[in-house]
Symmetry: C2
Subunit: 233 residues, 2 copies
Amino acid sequence: MKYSGQTRFLIAVDCIVFGFDGEKFKVLLIQRGFAPERKKWSLMGGFIQPEESLEIAANRVLKQLTGLEGVYLEQLQVFGDPHRDPVERTLAVAYFALIDIQQYEKQINHEYNAEWFLLDEMPQLIFDHEQMVEAAKKRLRYKAALHPVLFELLPEKFTIPQLKNLYEGLYGTTFDKRNFSRKVLSTGLLVKQKDKDKGNSRKGAFYYKLDKQKYSENFQAFLKFIPNPDKFL
Amino acid sequence: MKYSGQTRFLIAVDCIVFGFDGEKFKVLLIQRGFAPERKKWSLMGGFIQPEESLEIAANRVLKQLTGLEGVYLEQLQVFGDPHRDPVERTLAVAYFALIDIQQYEKQINHEYNAEWFLLDEMPQLIFDHEQMVEAAKKRLRYKAALHPVLFELLPEKFTIPQLKNLYEGLYGTTFDKRNFSRKVLSTGLLVKQKDKDKGNSRKGAFYYKLDKQKYSENFQAFLKFIPNPDKFL
DNA sequence: GCAAAAGTGTTGGAAGTACACCCATGG
DNA sequence: CCATGGGTGTACTTCCAACACTTTTGC
């Protein structure tokens, strides 16, 4: 039995994949291999299959692009403008992902011509993909102001100055290192390690690891990492 | 030209319509007029049409149900489980709406057997509609803890005790009236009127109106209406 | 004159911000 | 020994939460 007299549509899943290189935010893009817009840059996407849920489709697409599984993935919104894809009406469910750019480098699937772009130096994208990136950026800024989600972008061991860089990159500003450090440590989410990262200074900065337990317990909590979050949204 | 070899799907828009009767939260439901699940209660929904964007579809559905236009409407999320509709795979884009229940009463479209239910006394709903209501409730709690969105549920003139009731209803708790009143007045969003509502007390409570200008300017701002929001999410 | 809800003020504690100095190290 | 980034402590202010009494008026 079917519903009669109704139109059916293609559904795509498109993923905005964010990374952080220690300095700046990046987005992973691919060069589209098929018409239309062949050779233009695009988000990673794919059509959903008959027996596939959205989450599964998004994870599949992400795995194809990055080789990674179990990364942070969140539904952003649906883009449904009737003419967003000139070929045929397609609704796109946008997801955004946060991945550790270093792990990615080991696992990359070379079948795709994927490339990292600095978030503020992106090429033109196909269709409404730039809008999607814009929306994802906004959502991430919002979310990160309240929840410790940015840890998803860091490697297992990281330093406080790195973490500070990350937040500063996202909000395009600088934070006071004393207050910043006090604030993140006061969450109790970080476990100090014995070794240091000597890459960026003579003295070296202590590594920290995330307390995974507390992280998942406190993920929903409002943490106010950012002073005056209003300014940035 | 079309994309070949891909499956197409039905897309529905489903609306969770919230109202507040002065005491409790309510949801607007309809009795489904066609099979399957005829006579069971359901959210208001409809299939999207070939040339219709999602926002337009959601507004159309909402207008059919309530007769109202220009009400607060926000995309919630997509529900895409392959078997959520037993008849045929259908993806549902859920929207939630906040309406002034009093205005609604004047404009109701009687073509539909729509009925208000107390949020915590809902009948069984079809498909995954209960999940949708659950998600909408959660989203609303989250949003209202930070942004002045609940005013959308009130009539043009309202009193502070009413507003307090509204927040208490949503979070299932009570707030200190002195702190509550100070907090909402300090936003500068309210304009005191000369007349009082004598319905609930001998003394009467002053009416307030929303300063629409400031409301739209400050909508994105973090207002922290709720003490310890963590507890409620 | 009393019951019932509305309205208002103060105070102590916590959290947040601004700000300046010492530390460790490699060259 | 000095330049560079890492790390820490304090005083001030602001915000928040807790709490109790007075006001109005219909009966």
